[in-house]
Amino acid sequence: MSSVQPVRLPIAPSAPVRRFTWSWDWLGVAPFFAFAIAFLFIPAASIFIRSFQDSSGSPTLQNIFDLTQPFILSAFAVSIRLSLFTALLGCLIGGLMAYAITLGNLPRVVRSSLSSFSGVAANFAGVPLAFAFIATLGRLGMVTDWLKWIGLDLYQSGFNIYTFWGLSFTYLYFQIPLAVLMLLPAFDGLKREWREAAENLGGSTWDYWRYVGLPILAPSILGTLILMFGNAFGAQATAFALTGGQINLVSILIGAQISGDALQNPGLGNALALGMVVVMALSIAVYGWLQQRVSRWLQ
């Protein structure tokens, strides 16, 4: 059976750091660091530096100010709305499913099949996922067709798979499994004794969840939400394949900027990429902070 674990972020060593002394030991890790510097740090640094340069290379803040153009602000707004919405709904549904297979007294096979399936579906994103949803809910899709038989014409009533709501519905296909995988260990960590103690003290089910269960789960749930937010915020392939690049997301804009300088301004493209990294870095930092709190409860 799979045992997908939530991500542990590294915790900074608290031991006093010895004075740096050169030794040949560094050679052992040199290839890894050299590779990461060449293909991760230099590209990231170049984005950072070029965000603050104009087309002739002299320093400027203009690119950052230019991010406030309505067109770009709206891309950030749509990206953030999409990520927030799919994170919240995905976490709710995934959380309820994780609850059902841990505390719901369901047969074991339900748990093992759901967690296996989640491992697959969380990794099933991008072009094929977009195809699957077009075949399901597109204008000619099967479910669209089936609903028409029973008298419900989705496209007459304004639904369209190529819009914000269609995209959200598609993103949930990898967001919900991610929530299941990340919340399973948290629900496993809820001890039966706590519930019994609450009942012995006369607490109702509501009291238990309100004062014991949810407060203990809160950091895990928040952490899951943040990770899911980032997961949707950075995604490009699914949205591109589904809408053909017709939806105004930050990731789609960056893609368009690479393939044809869509913004007519190289510096602005860098600033856009920088903005995306900043959002992602903030979310992972908050996630790391929450993780340290969670680890207290899950021991």
Partner: protein, 259 residues
């Protein structure tokens, strides 16, 4: 204590329906290529298309090279961190998480801007950058999997035993450490494979003839074949993840970079 099982079943039913219906619908849709009858025409069209085979082989080659290089970069590093330099653990772990902070679309943006006057001018440049980007994407999986495996074996004892019999460093790494990490290495490899095979963003923006861009291109001219490809891709992902889960120490790390 009797417990009400209606709610748990309801949540599973709602979520399960959402998971299963698109797969079933896509599968049925893919069978409709022939008029008035269900059949596997769309699949045979896909398999008969030489571009399918070419792009699939291309992505597979890139995946295999990326996996091999990722092993070579990650294993010695994790070994060294475990055996000699535990203080570096924090830095190495942080670096392997970078694909989350730098999403694929930003990574490829930076790579293209950095290397467009050097590497990308040569014929092999795009291929090299594509492989390098996939190695970066594989780090979270590979590192976590190898690190877990390394915890399970006693690195120090193994190393000292090998040294006392006169083994040099290459012998220790390749003939003692690697074989002991077989399961971890396969875990990381299958996860990387699952990600690389369908990857679109990086391959498309580097204009490489990979499987992801091929699938996307097909969708502009065909109706039923894309859904056949979706089913094939799902089967492929399922296969890779199932192997990871079957290998037992299943460490299907779910934090990858967003795609």
């Amino acid at each position: 204590m009797t417990q009400n099982r209606v709610w748990p079943w309801l949540w599973i039913a709602i979520g399960g329906a959402y998971f299963v219906i698109p797969l079933v619908a896509t599968f049925i849709f893919s069978l409709k290529a022939e008029r008035d009858t269900l059949g596997f025409l769309a699949y045979s069209n896909v398999f008969d298309d030489p571009n399918f085979l070419n792009s699939f082989t291309f992505s597979m080659m890139v995946a295999l090279v990326a996996i091999a290089l990722s092993w070579l970069l990650v294993v010695p590093t994790v070994y060294w961190v475990h055996y000699r330099m535990p203080r570096l653990r924090f830095v190495v772990e942080l670096m392997t998480l970078m694909p989350f902070v730098v999403p694929a679309v930003v990574l490829v943006f930076g790579l293209i801007r950095t290397y467009n006057t050097t590497l990308l001018n040569s014929r092999q440049g795009g291929w090299v950058l594509l492989t390098a980007a996939y190695i970066i994407l594989s780090f979270p999986y590979m590192y976590r999997s190898v690190d877990t495996g390394m915890r399970a074996i006693d690195v120090r004892t193994l190393t000292e035993a090998a040294q006392s019999m006169g083994a040099n460093w290459q012998t220790i790494i390749f003939r003692v450490i690697f074989p002991n990490l077989r399961v971890s290495l396969l875990n990381g490899a299958f996860l990387t494979f699952a990600i690389v095979m369908g990857e679109f963003t990086i391959a498309a923006l580097l204009a490489q003839p990979a499987f992801g861009p091929y699938m996307n291109l097909l969708s502009s001219s065909r109706i039923y074949e894309p859904s056949a490809l979706a089913i094939i891709s799902f089967a492929l992902t399922w296969g890779a993840i199932a192997l990871v889960q079957f290998l037992g120490r299943g460490n299907a790390q779910n934090l990858s970079g967003p795609r």
